[in-house]
Symmetry: D2
Subunit: 124 residues, 4 copies
C-alpha cells in the first residue's frame, strides 16, 4: 500500500474528515482496532478530558484566563485538546456518528429551547 501522505502533495489536510482518516490509518497500521471498542474510546475520551481539566483545577477564574501566556502550559493545553479531539473522532468513526452534523442539529435544538433575549436562562 502506498502511504497517501508520503509524497509531494500537502501533508496535512486540515479538515476534520482528513484528520479522522489519518487517525483510523494510524490505529490500523499498529493493529490497535481491537482496543478501540466504543466503550474503551469513551473511557479514553473521558480520561483525556480530565487531563485537560487537571491543568485548571487549582487556578482562579482569572488565572485560568491567562494559561496561554506561559509557553509550557500553552503547549500542554494544546496537546490535551488534541488528545480529546482524537478520541472523540475515533469514537465517532467506530460508531458511525457524524460529529459536525450532530453539533449542528444540537445548536438548532438549543436555539429553540433557549431563545435569545429571554431573561430566564441565567446560566449555561
Amino acid at each position: 500500500m502506498t502511504d497517501p501522505y508520503d509524497d509531494a502533495t500537502p501533508r496535512r489536510p486540515l479538515d476534520l474528515a482528513g484528520l479522522q482518516r489519518r487517525l483510523a490509518d494510524f490505529a490500523a497500521a499498529r493493529d490497535w482496532q481491537p482496543y478501540h471498542t466504543p466503550k474503551n474510546l469513551a473511557a479514553a475520551l473521558s480520561v483525556e478530558s480530565s487531563e485537560l481539566l487537571e491543568i485548571f483545577q487549582w487556578l482562579t477564574p482569572e488565572e485560568s484566563a491567562r494559561v496561554m501566556d506561559d509557553p509550557d502550559t500553552a503547549h500542554r493545553v494544546t496537546d490535551e485538546v488534541a488528545d480529546v479531539l482524537a478520541y472523540l473522532l475515533q469514537l465517532c468513526e467506530v460508531l458511525g456518528v457524524d460529529p459536525l452534523g450532530a453539533l449542528a442539529a444540537k445548536i438548532d435544538r438549543n436555539e429553540h429551547r433557549f431563545p435569545a433575549g429571554r431573561p430566564d436562562h441565567g446560566s449555561p
Copy 2:
C-alpha cells in the same frame, strides 16, 4: 443586530469553524460569556465526556459495539457527542487554540514516537 443566519443563504455551515462561530454567537446572545472561563469550560467538557461514558459503563465490549442499533440509545450517544464537541470548541475559542492544527501536529508527533510495523507498542 441582524441575525447572520436569518436570510436565504445556507443556514448551517457544516465545517468546524462555522459551528464554532455559531456557538460563540449563541453564548453572546444569552450573555453567557462570564460563565465561559477556560476553567469552567474545561470542567463542562469533562462532565459531558462522562455523560457519554455513562451510556457505556455497564456494557460488555460486544454490547458497546452495538449501541447504535437502538434508536433511543443512538440519539443519546449523538447528543452527548455534540455536547462534548460544543464545549471543546468553546474552550478552544476562549483560549485561542486551533483544534485541527493541534490534532494534526499531535498525529505528526505520534507517527514519529510510534512508528508503524514495530511490535513494541502493543496497546494504544
Copy 3:
C-alpha cells in the same frame, strides 16, 4: 451465620467496613456482580465524580462555598457524595484494596514529600 442486620439491634453500623458489607450484600441480592468488574466500577466511580462536579461547574469560587445553604442543592451534593463513596468501596471490595490503609500510607508518603514549613510547594 447470623445476619447482623436481621435483629433488634441498630440496623446501620456507621463504619466504612459495615457499609461496604451492606453494598456487597445489596449487589449480591440483585445478581449485579457480573456487572461489577473493576473496569466497570472504575468507570462508574468516574461518572459519579463528574456528576458531583457538575453541581459546581458554573459557580464562582465564592458561590461554590455556599452550596450547602440551599436545601435542594445540599441534598443533591450529599447524594452524589454517597454515590462516589459507594462505587469507591465496591471497587475496593472486588480488588481487595483496603481504602483506609491506602490513604494512611499515602498521607505518610506525602508528609515526607511535602514537609510542612517549606515555601516551595505553593499549590496542592
Copy 4:
C-alpha cells in the same frame, strides 16, 4: 494546641474521621486552604477518579479482574484509590457533609427503590 500525633501513641488511627483530620491538618500546615474551595476539590476528585479509570481503559473485563496480580499495577491502583478518598474526604470536610451518614441514607433509599428478588432491575 498539642499535636495529637506527636507522642508515643499509635500514629495512624485507621478510621475515616481520623484520616480526615490528618488531611485537614496537612493542608493547613501548608497553607493550602485557599485552594480547597468545594469547586476545586470536586474537580480534583473527578481528575483523580479518571486517573484510576486510566489504569483500566484498554483492558478487557477479564484483564481488569487481574490488575492486582502485577505488583506495580497493584501499587498504582492503591495509590489512586487513596487520592480519590483523600479528595472526597477533603470535599466533605469543607462542605460539612458526613460521608458515612450520606452513604447509609442512600443505601436505605436504594433498598426501597430496588427491592431484592424483583426481576425488573437487570443492571445496576
